[in-house]
Amino acid sequence: MTTTAIQTPPTAFTTLALDNWKLAIAGGLGVSISACLAMPATSSFWVVAVMMALVAVTFVVNAFRRHYYGGLLVSPAIAVLFVMNIFPLLWSLGLSFFSYQSNQQAIRFVGLANYSKLLTDDLKAPELWANLTNTAMFTVLTVSVQMVIGFLLAVLFAKQFPLRRYLLILVLTPMMLSVVAVGVFFSYYYDPTFGVISQIIKAWTGEQFILFSSKAGAVAGIVFADAWMWSPFVMLLVLAGLVSVPTYLYEAAAIDRVGSWRRFWTITFPYIRGLLMLALLFRTIEAFKMADLIILLTKGGNDTMTISYHVIRIANEQNKTSEGAALSYLLLFVVIVLTNLYLYIANRRSQGN
């Protein structure tokens, strides 16, 4: 694919032209900084916004004049993402270097103190590590359960059979539910007195069954609910892989009398490997953020506190905005490292084959 860029001579830095983005950046930056220093926050915000708009306009005009279609196509998305995601992210990154509580007016620059406190404070660091361990445990458990259940469901639905369409939508339903409803109703299913599960077990064994009386039980309950909700997502991806395997390969395998185990590894698996990895990536990212189900089911009781719930507590309930921001960036760092590791492994694997 070649870009049909038209060779227009670059605009000189000092020219006042609508496509001179370099000047726009320089000017915009200068104006913004002076505005931030001189004006109150509400007004300077607008000045910064106008300057950013100006820079965006020069970029677009520049791209348009020189036929950089790529830039033109990507720019709306970048703009939306920048305003709604990246800008707030940078804002909270900035906040993480200050001592700031959102319910107090005082703000003070403290550098890396928030980070070092989180990592070394003898009250906070152990809590952080405990929460990280729990998060890792939940992530590993729920993602592997989701992969297994999602995979098995996909295998069940990979064949063509009567009523498949109608049964498949039943299995897809859980991920369409609201987390609130799922959390509340699962707490009902797990309830030792009213809950269906406890009632059945009690009728069976005669023993009172209290799922959330131990950490193992609480973790199992949370993982079960989460995996129940999101296995259909994995299933959908795996199923897509399974149905993409050409039928003739299975036919050839049948003719060649290939055993089912070998058939899976040599024919089916290569087709779903990419999708499994994709499902793994998406679900791991989501599992790392798991908080709402835990809030609804155990409130972090029985040592089920996760890092994400911890952030919510700090940043939202306790209004320690800076500390929350610092913690989130530590979390983001972990996730990015894991993701890169994942991408590295995935790439190496695909190159290996």
Partner: protein, 314 residues
């Protein structure tokens, strides 16, 4: 000589007629598994027809009728539609007047906000994905990775800056605000998904169209887009499912007029001086499930094809 068919085979309980195809026997298995998997949802739906007192009965009541005495009385409840009418209008205090609960509005809000933002993300994201796929920038992968990264942070981190920003711009509690936010929320997934679809398309067709004198716009709309319809549908469904139930942003950034159902749903979790209003909560969830359920059902074929197309052949 005709092969003799057993009565079972005639009923459809036969062996697969070809490899990869299964008969009613398999359906039976799948039905069993699907039923078990669907059971928690089914209980929610059943609960939506129960009055508060029966919702938590021990033993649990599962059946709306006794099926002519087949089911013991203790497992049978008296179905009522009261919860469904209560979703839209009910008395908030004992003996108080029946008032509109605003849920008609909340349902509209949910559909409007989710629908608009997913479509918007689809438009912007598809353009961007096409750009990333056809006119790779310097450091393309880095951009894509940064875009993905925006989905990794807990939402709570960006919420305070966003609230501040919305306050200054005056978007707080308005439709455009939450719609733009959801658009941004859906963009990373949309871009990643759509890019992989565009990557799959054969460039020959596009080049042929260019040689025939089609403009870049025409190539995009007439050649590329029709080939990724399944992908658009799949992305739409995924985006819709994720946006439909979003809670935190909706809680903090919608006003009383723009509130969505997931937020308003908590009315039934601890409302009216009572804990969970089981029947009401179930009724809200049941009603709330219907639109996204139908959309998914009707786009189901696209969903599978879309996902396959976009990601497998890579």
């Amino acid at each position: 000589m005709a092969t003799s068919m057993t009565i079972w085979e005639k009923l459809g309980f036969r062996k697969a007629s070809r490899v990869g195809e299964a008969g009613w026997g398999h359906t039976l298995w799948a039905a069993l598994v699907s039923f078990i998997y669907f059971l928690p949802v089914l209980i929610i739906v059943i609960t939506s027809f129960k009055v508060q007192n029966e919702a938590l009965s021990v033993p649990a009541k599962f059946f709306p009728t006794s099926f002519f005495g087949l089911i013991p009385e203790q497992y049978v409840f008296t179905p009522t539609l009261e919860n469904f009418t209560s979703v839209f209008s009910r008395a908030f205090t004992t003996g108080g007047a029946v008032e509109n609960t605003g849920f008609d509005r909340y349902f509209f809000n949910s559909m409007f906000i989710a629908g608009t933002s997913v479509l918007l993300a689809l438009v912007i994201g598809t353009l961007a994905a096409y750009g990333f796929s056809r006119y790779p920038l310097k450091g393309n992968d880095t951009y894509l990775f940064i875009i993905l990264t925006t989905r990794m942070l807990p939402a709570i981190v960006v919420i305070i800056p966003i609230i501040l920003m919305f306050r200054i711009v005056g978007l707080s509690g308005s439709y455009p605000g939450i719609i733009f936010l959801y658009t941004a929320f859906n963009l990373p997934f949309t871009i990643w998904m759509m890019k992989s679809f565009f990557d799959e398309l054969s460039l020959d067709v596009e080049d042929a169209a260019r040689i025939d004198g089609s403009s870049e716009l025409r190539v995009f709309f007439k050649v590329c887009l029709p080939q990724v319809v399944a992908g658009l549908a799949a992305t739409f469904v995924f985006g819709l499912i994720l946006t439909w139930n979003e809670f935190l942003f909706a809680l903090l950034l919608t006003g009383s007029d723009t509130r969505t159902v997931p937020v308003a749903m908590n009315q039934a979790v601890a409302g009216g001086g009572i804990g969970v209003l089981w029947g009401l909560l179930a009724a809200i969830e049941t009603l709330f499930l219907i639109p996204v359920f139908l959309v998914t059902f009707f786009l189901q074929n696209h969903l599978l094809r879309g996902v396959t197309f976009g990601t497998v052949k890579r």
